[in-house]
Amino acid sequence: MPKLSTKWIKKSPWVYHVGTGGCNNCDIEILDCLTPRFDVERFGIKLVVSPRHADVLLVSGPVTYHIKSRLQEVYQQVPKPCVVACIGACACSMGIFKDAYSVAGPVDRVIKEIDPNAIFVYVPGCPPKPETMIMALVKALQKI
């Protein structure tokens, strides 16, 4: 397969939101980002409703055993190149759910099982502020 260019993604990252069993607080903060107050359209960020249109997967929450195969499937449905953004302490490192009986592992470990070359962005915080998320995304995409 030819090498696909990531050059344009930083100009128009379309995001798709996957909740993988967090406490729902991160999800609400993600929705906050999309309100007129923060206006992410300034950076070309747009919420899309189908993983087929997405460039960035916003994953929030530790990955539970139930959601693990679904997350992997969603990741495979996203056309490459794509970026996985781990939103919140849970997604980055399992946070307060560490060692819980129902948790399969942090997002990066679960996705690396199927694609070792996946690109990750980590946004720590419990939950991270909307400003943090926007800044993380914009900065991280410049670095790719």
Partner: protein, 311 residues
């Protein structure tokens, strides 16, 4: 031979593919910017639609395993070709009203059905239940708006007594624009309502409802194929208002100040579309059908009767 070259150039460069797509993407930006201002936001940068398009072009193209590959890939191309042809015919007629063939308005009306049909085809070919639902809604919506639209266009055709777009434009150059008469204003309003539905903008974006059936027919599309569909929709944003302006508002001229005036007319139509879009909620498909088959059709018929009475 020379003529053939000229036609190919008209199809690919001006006023066909290149011009309409660039202009259409700019208009998409106007749409997004005005929407952002209405919602008290800053809005996207000027080149955003171009970034989006180039990005989609550089992404992977996935074909769903439940889908039919040939139809899935062919549908966007069909839509793009039809829209380009539409832009070429309308554009060339506007530049030189002497260019005509018998019944070009009828050809334009038929070609205008092809882009929605290509979306329907793509939706069915992708084999996703939500896409199929969206495609079926698109068909119903088409049945809804075609009736009043055809009556509104027929009002103009009967008034001028011709089936050729060039003749209509020339008639308006001699007798003043049609939009000054009450019957034509009514028909124009009906055409604007149908325009909203043809562009799939908000009160009538039932087929692509993002938050209920997830962009319907476009759900399974990714990468370049999605880019072509988005480009086609951007081009329709140019082509359909252009057709309506040619019918009712004297067409566009490409001489000195005429360009500015034409641009202004076009922008007025687009801003009306964007404002309607931003101030209305989405309606259900049965409400849309009822609206088009009762009120819009009634309005169009009244316009037709007024026209025959000489108003």
């Amino acid at each position: 031979m020379n003529n053939l070259l000229w036609y190919i150039l008209a199809f690919l460069v001006f006023p066909g593919l290149l011009f309409t797509s660039v202009f259409g993407l700019v208009v998409t930006w106007v749409d997004r910017k005005v929407s952002a201002r209405v919602q008290w936001r800053a809005g996207p940068p000027f080149l955003q639609p171009f970034y989006d398009f180039f990005k989609l072009w550089h992404k992977e193209l996935l074909i769903p395993s439940a889908g039919k590959k040939a139809g899935f890939l062919f549908a966007p191309l069909l839509g793009l070709t039809a829209t380009t042809l539409l832009a070429t015919i309308i554009g060339v007629t506007n530049i030189d009203p002497e260019f005509r063939f018998v019944g070009d308005v009828v050809v334009i009306m038929y070609l205008m059905i092809l882009p929605p049909l290509s979306i329907v085809w793509g939706g069915f070919a992708s084999g996703n239940p939500l896409s199929i639902l969206g495609a079926s809604r698109e068909i119903k919506l088409m049945l809804g708006y075609e009736l009043p639209f055809i009556i509104a266009v027929a009002t103009v055709l009967f008034k001028v007594g011709t089936f050729s777009l060039g003749d209509i434009i020339q008639y308006q150059q001699v007798n003043g624009v049609l939009l000054t008469q009450p019957s034509m204003i009514l028909a124009f309003v009906v055409a604007l309502l149908c325009l909203q539905a043809k562009l799939g903008q908000v009160p009538f974006d039932i087929a692509e409802a993002e938050c209920e059936i997830m962009e319907g027919p476009l759900l399974e599309y990714s990468g370049p194929a999605l880019g072509i569909f988005k480009l086609m929709q951007a081009m329709l944003y140019v082509v359909v208002p252009w057709f309506i302006i040619s019918l009712f508002w004297g067409g566009t001229s490409f001489h000195e100040w005429g360009i500015l005036w034409s641009l202004l007319k076009y922008l007025v139509v687009v801003v009306i579309v964007v404002l309607i879009k931003n101030t209305n909620p989405r309606i259900r498909i049965d409400q849309a059908m009822k609206f088009f088959w009762s009120w819009a059709t009634l309005l169009a018929v009244v316009a037709m009767i007024l026209m025959f009475l000489g108003y």
